[in-house]
């Protein structure tokens, strides 16, 4: 097993503002988290906050150790609830999208 997993992370619906105004980020995620388990979405969230998010407003992305309400997490274009939520183990080439819900109309 390689040391890192190449994945694509995208932010839309205004969340990109928290990530240097870039929608798409190609990252190499360590294959295992600190405790030696395969990297899952929960680890990815922590990784994004620690490494990719320059904005100080962490609570616009994470609340109570989870994605804040109003953000959909998509694993390869499916709601993460269909894939095991934060326990889903990331695979090389995965596409993870964070979508903030819009309310304007």
């Amino acid at each position: 097993m390689s040391d890192s997993i190449p994945i694509t992370v995208e932010f839309t619906g205004g969340l990109e503002i928290l990530f240097a105004n870039e929608r798409q980020h190609k990252i190499s995620l360590p294959a295992r988290s600190g405790d030696g388990n395969p990297s899952n979405i929960a680890y990815l969230l922590q990784y994004l906050v620690d490494n990719l998010m320059k904005d100080q407003r962490k609570d616009m992305f994470i609340m109570e150790d989870n994605v804040r309400p109003g953000i959909l997490v998509l694993i390869n274009d499916a709601d993460w609830e269909l894939e095991g939520e934060e326990n889903y183990e990331l695979q090389p080439g995965d596409n993870i999208v964070f979508v903030s819900t819009l309310h304007g109309g």
Binding site: T12, G13, G14, I17, R23, K54, D55, Q56, R57, D59, M60, M63, R68, P69, G70, I71, L72, L74, D77, A78, D79, E81, L82, V97, V99, S100, T101, L102, H103, G104, G105
Partner: protein, 489 residues
């Protein structure tokens, strides 16, 4: 003479007789043609009784002549056909919101011949709506949006029945209003309304076509489709299944604050009309069959591809509305015990500054001219020259700004850490902890400017008795007190 006159009379008689014969032939032909057409549509043989065929023909045309022409171009599409057109005519559709989504959605539904169209909105038309709310005309500024919209819709198609609900949708009234319709369109702009609409639609068994838009992006989802009673797993998910918890109120951005490109919200409204037409015209036995997994469509004007489809979950086993463990009922909605305002919260106002940390536009201007007057006398004028920071974003700064102001968007300020060690790079070069020149902060309405002042003080820039204040009321107050020509956008 007699023979000539007899000849003339004979010729007249022959003409009259021939004309009578011709008229008789024409009448026979017309009858034969009608009978043939009726026979064709009735599928009865040419031997069928003419008189009966004519009566059957009259009963056969369910639409008015004008309607065949009006709806012909969509009726000849196989997915619609005459049955689809008749379903559209007997359908009753309610649009909640007559704005950027509701206008284009209603326009296409009225055009398509939906028989009853209701619209709910308590707002009046503003000039800033016109770039995207395509049913409203400049002359209707100030009028109820629903009246303005229905005026345009009647112009477009006089056949449907239009119903105006001149009110903001309230929990007390929602169930009674929704009762009279088959399908609900959520064209609103805030989370509290979205939860109320979804809950009411689920409890009354109506499918819900929901859309939203902001800046360059839009989202579309058909909820409670198929509409099944709470507890039935085969029903489509509702808004609460997808979003069980509302977003923090501070994270909700409106079109007025965030902006919106007209065709972006227009695209979403048009798609709502399309999904509604599909729901109405798809025969019932197809609707009751298991559907593809529920999906949301994301539109992003500056992305490639423009559209993206995401698969959503099905009904949530513990959903507060559509599961067997539901706690929300029509009674809790009507009585107010399901409190949508409390559930969604309201945005907290920024921590207010004390009066000594705020100056009115008038006082700011006075202090500026004082400063100009004293400049000539002072030995070291640069040490006291004030700095004006405009914390609106770049696009707004580009629309109008004050001479000598420095643009530092509030998002940049908030993105930096509050630690005073290592000052953030966005600080204008002539501000340093050692200097004492006053700092003024201005924004659009006077909220972000207060947040920015607090942040500057947290960074330790208020030392040396430096004066840091915001301009109270922002550029809106500036326009009222100083410059009536300051652009109001």
């Amino acid at each position: 003479m007699d023979t000539l006159e007899d000849n003339c009379a004979s010729l007249r008689a022959q003409i009259a007789s021939t004309e009578a014969q011709l008229a008789g032939l024409k009448r026979d032909l017309a009858n034969a043609e009608k009978a043939a057409a009726a026979a064709k549509s009735e599928n009865i043989g040419p031997a069928g009784n003419r008189k009966e065929a004519r009566i059957a023909y009259k009963q056969q045309w369910p639409l008015e002549q004008e309607e065949y022409k009006r709806y012909g171009r969509q009726m000849i599409v196989s997915q619609i056909g005459l049955p689809g057109q008749l379903r559209l005519r007997s359908a009753k559709v309610l649009l909640v919101g007559a704005g950027g989504l509701g206008c284009p959605a209603a326009q296409y539904l009225a055009g398509a011949g939906v028989g009853t169209i209701g619209m709910v909105d308590g707002d009046t038309v503003e000039v800033s709506n016109l770039h995207r709310q395509v049913l409203h005309r400049s002359q209707n500024v100030g009028k109820y949006k629903v009246d303005s919209a229905i005026e345009s819709l009647k112009d477009l198609n006089p056949h449907p029945t239009y119903i105006a609900h001149r009110t903001h949708l309230t929990p007390a009234e929602a169930p009674a209003i929704f009762e009279g319709y088959d399908i609900i369109l959520d064209c609103t702009d805030n989370p509290a309304s979205r939860y109320l609409i979804s809950d009411t639609a689920v409890l009354l068994g109506k499918p819900l076509v929901s859309a939203s838009a902001l800046r360059t992006d839009g989202q579309l989802v058909v909820l409670n489709n198929p509409p099944r009673p709470p507890g039935d797993k085969h029903g489509g998910p509702c808004y609460r299944c997808v979003f069980p918890k509302p977003p923090p109120a501070d994270s909700v951005v409106s079109c007025a604050d965030g902006g919106i490109i007209g065709p972006v919200v227009g695209t979403m409204g048009v798609l709502q009309a399309l999904e509604t037409i599909k729901l109405i015209t798809t025969p019932c036995d197809n609707i009751s069959q298991p559907k593809d997994s529920p999906a949301m469509h994301l539109f992003s004007a500056y992305a490639d591809p423009l559209f993206r489809k995401i698969r959503l979950r099905s009904r949530r086993a513990n959903c507060a509305v559509c599961s067997s463990e539901a706690t929300v009922t029509l009674d809790t909605i009507k009585s107010g015990s399901t409190d949508y305002v409390f559930f969604c919260g309201s945005a907290s106002l920024p921590s207010l500054l004390s009066p000594s940390e705020r100056v009115s536009p008038r006082d700011y201007l006075a202090s500026q001219s004082e400063n100009d007057d004293s400049k000539g006398e002072s030995s070291d004028p640069s040490s006291k020259s004030p700095v004006l920071i405009d914390v609106r974003d770049e696009a707004q700064f580009g629309i109008c700004n004050l001479e000598n102001s420095i643009n530092v968007p509030i998002s940049t300020i908030l993105a930096s850490s509050t630690s005073s060690e290592g000052l953030p790079s966005w600080l204008p070069p002539d501000i340093s902890p050692g200097s004492s020149n006053p700092i003024y902060v201005v924004c659009r309405l006077g909220n972000d400017s207060q947040v920015a002042v607090r942040k500057l003080k947290d960074l330790g820039l208020g030392q040396n008795d430096r004066f840091i204040a915001d301009i109270k009321g922002g550029f809106r107050a500036w326009r009222e007190q100083i410059d009536p020509e300051w652009p109001e956008y």
